[in-house]
């Protein structure tokens, strides 16, 4: 199998991820933060270790400002619904995923103003485009770090600067970059960072998280047991308990911890360098195939390893089916839950085929994919 669907979820995972999940279930399966017995305490140690490692990878000073969720969508919903009230205004970009666009549209129906900053033809959102949409009542700028459709990498630190100068909160959707592109919340002036655990961070599905700056108090998405302040009918004020009602996905977090440790050891900069090299090879190869149109930035320094393309006259879903069936290549086709982004690049009617690289992708994966697309394009022409 040539796996080129890392933007959907990374696979395979480092072996330590699976081992830690099994060990958590078999040897430390207590409920962290509830009971006081050894199994529960051991489980809680792993959960805290994961918080600490995530803090390390994102440059967060206080690990307690990271709360666990089940995926980036839940994190984004917690941030967006938890921060915005009727009368507030938020700016988002024309490249956002539905996990930003839909909550914002829902809040719009409830009296929150929203404005869209347009990306350029390459999918990159320039700071000026954001500035043009700001209003006196703007409370939040939401931006994806990199596109899940065409890999365009946004000048996130520059837009963080725009937000900080105006005392506007800055929420970054790191669904495609956490673990794949270096992120430092302090240096990039990110107030809230939403991330999945199962993509670049190499954890299992069902894991994700949210970093919330200490000056921000979000309304929680859910209320319930936190293992703390149990006599109170209200959610605790302190993080992460405020945002983590109910039993955590402890086996998943144990796996995520190993994924993050793997990356800390290898270095996210090294992962980015590796993916850039492969991205350059894939882009160069695709550019040489007649009838193939590639979307997004051409320069691998302004993009991630997410590459969208179409073969002239071919339905992308059928191309992906054929790649799977005849070439044993896993990729994704369609609109990628990001209609806005497809509308921005003019592929909203067709969708695209998407190859996405990961930390464990190889040159061989790229070469196999290029050979397959070459064959399909020739077939389409004949």
């Amino acid at each position: 199998m040539t796996y080129l669907d890392h933007a959907a979820t990374s696979w395979p995972k480092p072996p330590a991820v699976t081992a830690a999940m099994c060990a958590m279930i078999e040897q430390a399966g207590g409920n962290p933060g509830r009971s006081g017995h050894r199994l529960a305490m051991r489980a809680s140690e792993t959960v805290y270790a994961c918080r600490e490692n995530l803090a390390k990878i994102f440059g967060v000073r206080d690990p307690l400002r990271i709360c666990f969720t089940s995926n980036a969508t839940e994190s984004l919903n917690l941030a967006i619904h938890g921060l915005l009230k009727p009368g507030d205004h938020a700016v988002f970009s024309s490249m956002e995923h539905n996990s930003v666009w839909r909550p914002l549209r829902e809040l719009e129906r409830r009296g929150v103003g929203i404005s869209m900053a347009s990306a350029g033809p390459d999918g990159i959102v320039q700071p000026d485009s954001v500035v043009n949409q700001l209003r006196p009542e703007t409370k939040l700028i939401v931006l994806l770090h990199a596109s899940n459709v065409n890999g365009a990498l946004n000048p996130t630190a520059d837009i963080g600067c725009v937000a900080r100068e105006r005392n506007i909160r800055f929420l970054v959707d790191a669904a495609q970059t956490a673990g794949a592109v270096p992120i430092d919340v302090e240096a990039m002036q990110i107030d809230i960072l939403a991330f999945p655990g199962h993509k670049g961070l190499l954890g299992p599905q069902g894991t994700g998280g949210l970093y919330v700056h200490e000056s921000i108090r979000l309304e929680p998405l859910k209320q319930g047991g936190t293992g703390s302040d149990s006599e109170s009918s209200r959610q605790p004020e302190f993080a992460p308990d405020r945002y983590e009602s109910g039993t955590l996905n402890t086996p998943g977090i144990a796996g995520l911890n190993e994924g993050v440790k793997f990356l800390l050891e290898r270095g996210v900069e090294e992962v980015q360098r590796h993916e850039r090299t492969l991205t350059g090879r894939l882009l160069a190869g695709l550019a040489e195939i007649p009838m193939v149109q590639v979307y997004g930035p051409r320069d691998s320094h302004h993009r991630t390893g997410v590459i969208s393309f179409n073969v002239d006259g071919c339905d992308p879903v059928l191309v992906a089916d054929e790649l799977d069936r005849d070439f044993d290549i896993a990729c994704r086709a369609g609109l990628h839950c990001a209609y806005l982004a497809h509308r921005t690049q003019g592929t909203e009617k067709t969708g695209t085929v998407r190859f996405s690289l990961g930390a464990l992708s190889t040159e061989r994966d790229v070469d196999v994919a290029l050979a397959a697309v070459r064959t399909l394009a020739q077939k389409g022409r004949s």
Binding site: S228, P240, D241
Partner: protein, 85 residues
């Protein structure tokens, strides 16, 4: 000779206990963590750091540095618990 009575430094949440414990550990101080007995009368289902009395000032300092509230400090003995100011 009897050992000095251990102390319980109580926090609202196990997450906070971990944070302080790790901070102390990085400074070479190791303390245990336990579920705080309900009879202490500290709000909710609390957790505590269990340590020698001599370490309490250091734990207070660490908690202050981390802006984590201590909900109570108690001595622990076979006769029960006594609050420390």
């Amino acid at each position: 000779m009897s050992l000095p009575a251990p102390c319980l430094v109580v926090y609202a949440s196990l997450n906070q206990v971990h944070r302080v414990k790790r901070h102390l550990y990085q400074g070479g101080v190791f303390v245990d963590m336990v579920r705080a007995p309900q009879c202490l009368g500290v709000r909710g289902c609390s957790f505590a750091l269990r340590c020698e009395a001599a370490l309490v000032p250091e734990i207070r300092r660490a908690s202050q540095e981390l802006a984590i509230e201590i909900r109570g400090v108690f001595t622990e003995s076979p006769d029960g618990y006594g609050a420390i100011q």
